[in-house]
Point group: C3
Chain length 355, copies 3
């Protein structure tokens, strides 16, 4: 995977020397982010393992979706609010439909029926329903009652704070109920976060800093190229945001979840896929709403278009149904993938389906 | 609690001598209803314990929501149909989000994971879904198909009768499956209804009559003051109906549910909170629809505004998810309270959010 | 039941000699289809039992909804697309609300609490949610984004293919996980399909062919009479399609499910009622969409009216709630029947409620 790092200078060069080929710039910059996201996960995991489950868990929670957050901030600065929202929605449904679906199909076809602890999965699924409610309501009220922009923005700020508080409660609950560290110093919680060799704190911090800068740089290139690139392919902005941009930021996590399912560790696969969606909905999205007051041309409300809202609502509904009884098999994976295909088709055929 | 009874003469005096201070009248009349509702619960419980689970259960079912019913009738007589609907919706979501949420947070933070019998809770949650369907459909059809008021009223009457029949089936099922009375004459069912000293039937009947009169009187004062009071606070009628009026009628039950959760009797807490919502949706609301033909200026249909419908639908959805696997903890309580906060924010920021 | 076969010549004669009495023609043709559907189930079951669970299961899957399919094709040829959609929606909700509701009431009132294997029921309920998503999305996007008819038709074709692939996966999963045939050659799977005496393959094939022809003939008569018949009763087309036509095609299966519940074989009753709905949503409906390009005046999209979509969505929601914990009782049956009554009332009172 490390050889993918050569793509970074290539992307920078292409943006400079071939600005008239946005599709090429977009593809190379997108691919170049993947190894950086992987390095960032590695560095965060190393730090988390050293610092113990308490601070380590919080660190991981903060940096876990860092790539998505940095890309979104770049889009926010350029005023591409709709792209940010499409990307948030896309990453949420990508995790719970595509990642979970592939994990269930690959895990189930090798191991037959797989089991996982249903209580934690239920609570995470409920977190997503909670986030959906916070997204559905403003959209519904804007549709049925004439509402001033200022009121919507105040409401968004309040809802963002409520979601962040629920996120803090979620982290606190997880820390309080995570198992006591074993003798060897690696506890079950850190184990779920760290894969690969353990780095020294100094090295991990250095990598974290360098990689963050790299992703900031590449994100700008990516965001600059996304609109002309989708136009050159005849794709709508909504399709690109929901189904292309979303895949790039979460590539590292997606691979981890699928590998875990193949190793019959369905608990870990579920917790990564659902957990990443919950973090995005309860941490990244509200943070972006609050940061939009400082960054970018004008504040971004928590008001998603009706198309995106329906998409997230239905995805969360079926995931709640599939992931509630502690058992999975490949047929359930097929069901989730089919819903992902159906959503993709709608966004492909209906221009501006995000409403 | 009994010293609160002095508020009743105070409320009557204030309405007479300070009609220009509606907020004060509203607050005092609202607080004065709380001890009366508690006395009514006490009297009904005493009668129920004497009469055995059969007639006693029915009696309790009828008088359990008597305070809510009496307030709603007063509003109906004054033609405040929207206020009635907002109050019904508010009491339903207040019970399943606020009361259940507080009960889970307080119970869970003291006892850790708490257990309850999931089958009964599931059936009650399904009852709420059923009621939501009866509320959603007329609203949806009015929105998508031009429908005459007369057809909507006939439909409402039919739906009200169906809901009442389901309520009767629910009571019959509960009576058939409740445990056989123990030797001491107090059976498990009566136990769930009665708290405090047992009164003689004569005393209980006397209290019931006197208290009913008091609540009728106070309800009129309350309803008369509610509109000017909300205006003086800059609150919308919808916010007042859903989040203020709703809390007053159900205060006694709310306290009981929370105390039960603290005592680690989560079964009882769930059954009170869900049961009160089911009674409201399947008994009080349809009764009001039927009574509106006799009382008040014009019949009240079962057609709720789209805002209220979405609010109830989402609340019932997340409650069904939280209350289905027989286990609760404080994080789930936080989830329910967060949804309540989110709904409150929307109704606060969007004037006339009930649509 | 066999004496009902005399109704077939009667229906043909009536259509010829009394074309001015469409209601009589409709009723007689409708009743005449019932014994033919029963014979077809018998013949398919016999063939399935002979051919083993593999090919037999597929055969049954294909012919199980043959009567519904043939009636729908007749309507399609006459361009009655709305009637086809209403009938599909009606059969789905009729199976999961009416058939399941009656089965639970009759089974539960005789046997008390009944148990069934919840995992299979959950997977089937999720299949219905999946199908609902495929129906909801096109309707939603047509409502919120101006979409060209051509794009909707391309999308419908794609969605139909996805649904068919999921159906194939469902059949493959069932075949792979069905039990190994017992010594006597009758395995558990065939047992669920076959009721009554076993016919020879030759006789079964002959009956299958003859009966198919009879149903084609009667379907044409039925479809020709349906519009004038509903008009003469003052019923809307939507009501007839959803609540009358739907009952006729599925009469044989409905009887089987209810008999199974009375015999305390709730697993079988659930699998017939849910399975028939899944087949209709994942096999019959997409097949009709694809066949509409060959048959009939113009292609039929998978875009249902908003009224039908809401109806199916809510029905699937409450069925998922009722049929997820492996336990049923008569109260749950009452809940499903009440929802069916509520839907019936809405379609009765609101002309063209299918939107």
């Amino acid at each position: 995977m490390k050889w993918l790092l050569v793509l970074m200078p290539l992307a920078i060069a292409l943006e400079h020397f071939a600005p008239d080929r946005p599709l090429l710039v977009f593809v190379v910059a997108g691919l170049a982010i993947v190894p950086l996201a992987s390095l960032m996960a590695q560095a965060t995991g190393s730090l988390a393992a050293r610092l113990g489950p308490g601070i380590g868990g919080l660190l991981n929670a903060t940096f876990g979706n860092a790539a998505e957050l940095i890309i979104a901030l770049a889009a926010l600065r350029n005023g591409l609010h709709d792209m940010v929202k499409a990307s948030i929605a896309g990453t949420i449904i990508g995790n719970i439909l595509f990642v979970l679906g592939v994990a269930m199909v690959l895990g189930g076809s090798r191991h037959g029926e797989q089991r996982y602890e249903s209580r934690a999965a239920r609570t995470q699924a409920t977190m997503l329903t909670l986030a959906v409610i916070a997204l559905v309501l403003p959209a519904v009220y804007r549709a049925i009652v004439p509402t001033e922009e200022a009121a919507l923005n105040s409401m968004s700020t309040f809802l963002a704070i409520v979601l962040l508080l629920v996120y803090v409660a979620n982290v606190a609950f997880t820390l309080m109920h995570s198992k006591v560290p074993k003798n060897n110093g690696n506890d079950a919680h850190a184990d779920t976060l760290h894969h690969g060799p353990l780095w020294s704190p100094a090295r991990a911090s250095l990598v974290l800093g360098a990689v963050s800068l790299g992703i900031i740089w590449l994100s700008e290139i990516l965001v600059g190229a996304v609109e002309p690139a989708s136009k050159s392919l005849g794709l709508s902005d909504a399709f690109t945001g929901v189904f292309v941009l979303a895949v790039i930021g979460g590539a590292a996590e997606q691979a981890t979840a699928i590998v875990a399912a193949r190793q019959n560790r369905m608990d870990l696969a579920m917790s990564i896929a659902l957990g990443a969606s919950v973090q995005l909905a309860l941490l990244v999205a509200p943070l972006l709403v609050l940061l939009s007051y400082v960054i970018g041309p004008h504040p971004m409300g928590l008001v998603f278009g009706p198309g995106l809202v329906v998409t997230i609502l239905l995805s969360v509904m079926i995931t709640g149904q599939v992931a509630s009884d502690g058992r999975t098999d490949w047929l359930r994976g097929v069901q989730l993938l089919a819903v992902y295909l159906i959503l993709g088709a709608v966004f492909f055929y209906v221009p501006n389906a995000s409403g």
